[in-house]
Amino acid sequence: MTESRREFIKKSGCALGMTALATQMHHFGLVDAMAQSIDPLALTGYKALVLCYFDGGNDGNNLVVPIHDVPVGTTGISNYTTYTNARGTQGLALPRTGTGALLPISVPRMGTDYTYGLHPSLGAMTRDIGQNIINNGIHELYQQGRMAIVPNVGTLVRPTTKAQMSQASHPKPYQLYSHSDQTNQNQNAYANRPIFTGWGGRVADAMRAGVDPANIGGLIPMVTSIAGAQIFTAAQASPPLAIGQANTVAIPLPTPLPTPNLRTILSPAGFTNTGGTARRTAFNQIRAEEVLSNANFVKEAAEVLDTAMQADAAFASANEVAVEFPNTSLGQQLRQVARLIQMRSSLTMNRQIFFVRIGGFDTHTDQLGAHNTLFTQFSQAARAFYDAMGSLGVQNDVTMFTLSDFGRTFNPAGSGAGVGTDHAWGNHCMVIGGSVVGGNFYGLPTSNGTPYPNLAFNGTDDADGGTGARGRWIPSTSVEQYAATLAKWYGLPQDAATLQAVFPNIGNFNMASGALDFLL
């Protein structure tokens, strides 16, 4: 049985006495290692998962688009005409030729006749003076087989068909189409009811539970968010670290490389003036006292600060990563991740989970311009990160993947320059890394037998019915299936008890079909 971290602190605090510095009190990952028998050979090498969360609900319908002309007939496999008929009139359809054309990709899973296109902003572009465009983007990674697409992923309690949508007895995710609830369900991989932990946090809990002694003596928590507090990172026994993004660094990179701010973002300022030493002593004493406070909010605030102080000490030797990152928020978040991965040995970390975020996807209006900006930022930052992992020699050990609140209605909202889309459900995800068996689609079949949904309004994959149906795809691959595939690669023990603890609904879904083998 895993003890809570709080219990551990309590014991340590007693053992060391009230005057001990809180920063000496515990190392993350040590708790259960002490309590359990350890097989140090159970985990080898290094692995990291990086969730890039598309905040606001990305319109996957314009990320991956059918561009073939194979007649739909009775196959239910939509073509480019299906797409332009739905989106052309209101000005939301992307062209497949000429300026701003979709970038063609081949999809072995779909067969040679069925071609698809990626949003043009994922391609190679000319460097810009804003230092946001610096590389060839991720379309190239798809073509190199280092990026996979998992279409129509979404929140589910059980596999769900169109017919089951109208059956009250068939369990469905609570509050479909609501940002906050669907964000939570994507990040906690559980759609039955609200819960307190995210699946990243639960993977960390399970990996620390003695079954699999990751990060023995690790100096920072297994889970790190570069984008604030997120339910994905919330665990019961493994508190996350949450630090800010890097400062911008000039492009091209200066020589010699500057000292990064990894340390300074967590270092309390001051303590150098008169009485500074005495001040630091008291500051540490108060924190050591407060992490044991009976007042819960006081205790929790002190623990957050204490985690920061420990990380501050661990980050003393940070170095800059010798790869250019775009000077965007996401670029600087991923630069921070790259720095941490670069220091993995000195931090004694062999398994890490990171959370980064790009916001602005709630495109009820002005979607075309927003998508150009957002996809460019994602593509450039993701590519820079992939390249940085290559320069660190860990490109096969680090996998980045995307999730979002939900997809968006295939039927546009508004028209003309301001055209946008409303909240929907199933959505297309990307997985990038050296261990990705890319250049293909993955996932369980939709109604048409392929992973890519039938794009017909009120069709066999549309959750909406009737004449006003707007195209909200019923997911064919659940968040659990997608997440569990990633977690398995990461090293989550595959015994039934662990899987059940991390992904309580996993038993409702087929994991054995091979449809999700997108990782080596």
Partner: protein, 754 residues
């Protein structure tokens, strides 16, 4: 539910003063004792074990029976509580029972029934179920002792052992456990007087007064504390309701509308030029800078503190943001709606906010038409501004159906509500603030603005089906047909009427009272209020005593005068809330003293750039979900703590560094000779004087304990700070004062408003 409850039994026993709070007795001179008695749970005679029975069908809660030393998991049981003084209507949901096991895991047991114990009128029998209702940990699986306690009105009872399916384990060794049997209680052997470390506090109820000011203002000041001591909380609240707003010395910045193209040479700031004039024009019109400065001036110095505080809270429910609404004039128009209605009626707030052009832009209502409807505003007015996602009881707890929450609305409902909100747009001609080249972000949006032909009507004229709860006004709206759609004028009339009917339909939904009440309590007082507290406030929301629903004055008064908010000391471990960054800053400034550069003049409100590293850039909420969500649970716990969403490793350090900057430096924050000559500085001189007058530094510590922590500073913290202060030479009292302020202000005890 049980219906056997008798009327409340009025008595007082260990409490020395009768405690009675009537939220409506505004003009009472002087205040009643704010302190509720501390509840005592009754033990078995001579044992630290809870006196309890397995609940029987007969409900014969006689105290004389042989108690059950172990209770059946999953079953109902009865415990006994003494030292209460209940208000009329105060029921089982005023109590929360917590248990913890050996591993430090906490469980919450649902409270089912409360009634006077037969034959013991001073004692209440509390029926509860031995089943965790939080679901954070699995149910306690080990058979053995738990430690149980009870919370009531922000106070915690004593702790006792409870045999959960059996006795045993190490918890019985805890030294703090002791008997609290009926004879112990009657013999005065159980002392439950909450202790204050209030060495320097000479006035009655000063702990409560300072806490009150933390809840109702942007921070206590010595002069405000003095004033409230003279006139009492209730008179002060009544005064606040009448204060002009903004305070006359700090009127809203008068910022004209500008072109949406900032470089427009007629109505923008153009042509672009790398000059101070151009930059200032952009900063004042196309950023929130003037509004932020005004906001902080009003918070630091203004007299209308309560309205400012409530408007700030409402603005975190009805969120718009400078991220999208980039002109300060737009956001000022929006803030005026908040502040005007902060002491008005919630229904008016709903209507004015719906028609506020900033909101219309932020949530896309101005772009929603019958042919291209946009669900953004209708979805959020329901989810975030009025009813929320799940059906609620009046006490804010979820209504359940077979154990599952009941969704308040479906996608079909959203589709119907969406229709009502189609066709509205900016009033760019013919309204007071209309002007060439400008988008009218000041006047309310109107139906079919600029539409001249009937065929171009943008409002959805079909029938709508709205909420149909019992007593719902306007559960349906008929289609606009016949003569209704003959002219644009009649369509406009239909659309306006429909909007009124729809807002009435939403406003009267039974969820609105508990939804709004709980959220406001969270912003002002405590993150996880008891259901009884929510219910009391929601009751006032539903009817202010004069048959009026939605009276925010009455609601605010009920929130800040409630016995759960009041009292010198709050011992419930879950009471209070993390200070959001804005409150952290303004409380620090106001409690020490705030001035401009070189201790001359007043702050000009420029604290700009200091809030965003802490995660709260004022008037730039990142999304409509505010800086932090109201349902945020602190990771690793089951504690509801919305503001903790802003408390990360990084921002925790930013809080320290902000404090370091303003406390340890001579230079003002934000000072800029050209644009902000004053900046904002901490005025340390008063505390410096106190440090100089008493070289033992005890008076300094007393003062800080009183002002910052209303007397709750722990002895260990006090000792740590005292040592650090006295490490500085006595002839440097300024540095001594700074040392002390830094350490108090960075303590987690101060990060939490409690």
């Amino acid at each position: 539910m049980f219906s056997l409850r008798r009327g409340p039994v009025k008595f007082f026993w260990l409490a020395t003063v009768i405690f009675a709070v009537s939220p409506l007795s505004v003009f009472a001179q002087g205040d009643p004792n704010p302190n509720s008695p501390t509840p005592i749970i009754v033990s078995i005679e001579g044992s630290p074990r809870l006196l309890a029975y397995q609940a029987l069908r007969s409900r014969n809660h006689t105290l004389g029976r042989l108690p059950a030393e172990t209770l059946r998991p999953g079953g109902n049981a009865v415990m006994f509580v003494a030292n209460l003084s209940l208000m009329e209507g105060e029921d089982a949901n005023a109590f929360r029972i917590f248990a913890r096991d050996e591993k430090g895991r906490t469980y919450k047991f649902p409270v089912i029934d409360l009634r006077p114990a037969p034959g013991q009128p001073e004692v209440y029998a509390l029926t509860f179920r031995l089943q965790d209702e939080v679901g954070y940990w699995q149910e306690p699986i080990e058979i053995g002792d738990l430690i149980v306690r009870l919370s009531w009105r922000g106070l915690s009872s004593n702790e006792l052992l409870l045999g959960y399916g059996g006795k045993g384990g190490k918890l019985s060794e805890e030294k703090s456990l002791k008997s609290s049997s009926l004879s112990d209680i009657k013999g005065g052997k159980v002392s439950q007087a909450a202790s204050l470390n209030n060495v320097g506090i000479g006035y009655k109820w000063s702990g409560d007064r300072v806490r009150f000011l933390e809840q109702a203002t942007f921070g206590p000041t010595p002069s405000l504390d003095l004033r409230i001591r003279r006139i009492g909380l209730r008179v002060w609240v009544a005064e606040q309701f009448e204060k002009p707003y903004p305070s006359p010395a700090y009127p809203y910045p008068d910022i004209p509308l500008k072109n949406t193209n900032r470089d427009d040479i007629t109505t923008g700031c153009g042509p672009f030029a790398d000059t101070a004039v151009y930059r200032a024009c952009i900063r004042n019109h196309y950023t929130m800078y003037p509004l932020q400065n005004w906001f902080f001036q009003e918070a630091l110095y203004g007299d209308a503190q309560l309205r400012h505080r409530v408007a700030w809270a409402l603005g975190q429910i009805w969120v718009t943001s400078g991220v999208v609404n980039e002109q300060s004039s737009w956001m000022i128009a929006y803030h005026k709606v908040l502040s005007k209605n902060a002491f008005g009626n919630y229904r008016d707030l709903m209507e004015e906010m719906t028609l506020n052009p900033g909101m219309g832009n932020y949530l896309d209502m101005v772009r929603s038409t019958r042919n291209n409807p946009n669900e953004n505003y209708p979805r959020e007015i329901l989810q975030l501004f009025s009813v929320g996602l799940f059906e609620l009881n009046q006490d804010g707890t979820l209504k359940l159906n077979n154990g599952n929450p009941i969704e308040t609305y479906s996608q079909t409902d959203v589709n119907n509500f969406t229709k009502v909100f189609t066709g509205w747009n900016f009033c760019n001609t013919g309204c007071p603030s209309s002007g060439p080249g400008l988008v009218n972000f000041k006047d309310p949006i109107v139906i079919n603005a600029g539409i001249t032909t009937l065929g171009n009507n943008r409002h959805d004229l079909t029938a709508k089906t709205l909420f149909s709860y019992p007593g719902a006004p306007n559960p349906t709206i008929a289609a606009c047909t016949g003569t209704c759609d003959d002219t644009l004028v009649s369509i406009a009339s239909y659309a306006n009427t429909s909007l009124d009917q729809t807002l009435d339909n939403i406003f009267n939904h039974p969820n609105v009272g508990p939804f709004v009440s709980k959220t406001l309590i969270q912003h002002l007082v405590t993150s996880d209020p008891s259901p009884a507290y929510v219910s009391r406030v929601a009751g006032i929301f539903n009817n202010n005593g004069f048959g009026v629903r939605g009276d925010l004055k009455a609601v605010v008064k009920a929130i800040i005068l409630d016995p759960e908010a009041r009292g010198d000391v709050k011992t419930d471990p879950n009471f209070g809330k993390l200070r959001e960054p804005v409150q952290l800053m303004t409380n620090l400034f106001r409690q020490v003293g705030v001035t401009g550069a070189n201790f001359t003049g007043l702050s000009d409100g420029v604290i700009v750039g200091r809030t965003s590293p802490l995660g709260q850039n004022v008037f730039y909420s990142p999304t409509v979900f505010n800086y932090y969500p109201p349902d945020y649970v602190i990771p690793g716990t089951s504690l509801l703590g919305p503001e903790f969403a802003l408390m990360t490793s990084g921002t925790a350090v930013s809080r320290l560094n902000f404090t370091n900057t303003v406390v340890m430096n001579d230079n003002a924050v934000g000072i800029n000779a050209e644009t902000s000559p004053n900046g904002t500085s901490l005025d340390i001189r008063e505390l410096e004087g106190i440090a100089a007058a008493d070289t033992t530094s005890n008076r300094l510590l007393d003062t800080l304990n009183n002002r910052f922590l209303h007397g709750t500073m722990t002895p260990a913290t006090r000792s740590s700070i005292l040592t650090a202060v006295n490490a500085i030479a006595a002839n440097n009292p300024r540095q001594r004062a700074r040392q002390a302020v830094y350490l108090v202000a960075t303590s987690s005890q101060f990060q939490v408003q409690r």
